[in-house]
């Protein structure tokens, strides 16, 4: 029996390390892409039963209100699936812009860097 074509559009690479997922985001997040990203991440979380997911946004140059909304929504959904979402690598100008706009990204755990994110991911 053949598996149903379940290949969603892969927008980012997802690396599984022990019981968490590491996702380097190295693409420009336009509105369509950010929707596909959410879809892909939720599928990966369900498939791997990961307990944490790390989103590395070092390469992301703009995080606007819609990207913020979708990342927060994804984290809320992941949490309901028993998975913590950790964001790391926010660039200083992006942090400045988000702070000035009043966007707090409260649904996500924020890590200083990848090393810190790995520590948070392994926390009980």
């Amino acid at each position: 029996m053949k598996e149903a074509p379940s290949n969603p559009e892969q927008v980012v690479p997802v690396l599984q390390i022990a019981d968490f997922l590491l996702v380097p985001i190295q693409i420009d997040l336009d509105d369509k892409t950010v929707g596909l990203l959410q879809e892909q991440l939720l599928k990966e979380i369900a498939r791997t039963r990961a307990k944490a997911i790390i989103l590395d946004v070092r390469m992301v140059e703009v995080i606007d209100s819609y990207i913020s909304y979708t990342l927060s929504e994804t984290a809320a959904m992941a949490r309901l699936m028993g998975c913590r979402t950790i964001l790391c690598g926010i660039r200083p100008p992006v942090a400045l812009t988000l702070a000035q706009m009043g966007i707090a990204l409260g649904e996500l755990s924020i890590a200083r860097d990848l090393e810190h994110a790995l520590v948070l991911a392994q926390a009980p």
């Binding site: 509105d31 369509k32 703009v62 209100s65 819609y66 992006v94 400045l96 812009t97 009043g102 966007i103």
Partner: protein, 151 residues
């Protein structure tokens, strides 16, 4: 008079600007953001201010796409003025218009389901000046400006 200002901006010609991006599809939001970033870099804006400009344009372009379906993002270098060079950002559409401009500038207010309601108030905070002209049935124009800072 706000209505006159609105009509005048809606009637402005593309050649009066350095960059004009027509917003009609979702992908145009990212295009506008890239073009704004490029112009800010050309003008010698700091990385922080370039990011603020690109983010603000992203918000304005998305508002056009969501609420008016189509419109224009127009960017212009302004060299004159005692405060040095600045970038003028205009978002113009002939959509439904905004009945209560004060209300849409309230943080957290949105009529769209998947939104933080922070776009327009965020743009206002990111820019040095910000004005909005709107009339129901006529359209909406946002005029914002960001000065180049020297460090």
């Amino acid at each position: 008079m706000d209505l006159e200002k609105l009509e005048a901006i809606l009637a402005s010609q593309s050649h009066e600007f350095d960059v004009v991006v027509r917003i009609a599809k979702e992908e145009d939001i990212a295009v506008a953001r890239q073009m704004a970033k490029k112009l800010a870099q050309e003008m010698g804006f700091s990385l922080a201010d370039t990011t603020k400009v690109a983010t603000a344009v992203s918000e304005l372009a998305r508002n056009i796409y969501r609420y008016a379906q189509q419109g224009r993002i127009m960017l212009r270098k302004k060299e004159e003025g005692k405060s040095g060079p600045s970038m003028e950002i205009i978002a113009a559409d002939q959509g439904p218009g905004i009945p209560d401009v004060e209300l849409v500038l309230t943080k957290g207010y949105t009529t769209y389901e998947r939104s933080l309601g922070i776009g327009l108030s965020g743009v206002k905070r990111l820019m040095d000046s910000f004005a909005i002209y709107s009339a129901p049935g006529r359209g909406t124009v946002v005029v914002a400006e960001k000065r180049r800072r020297r460090f």
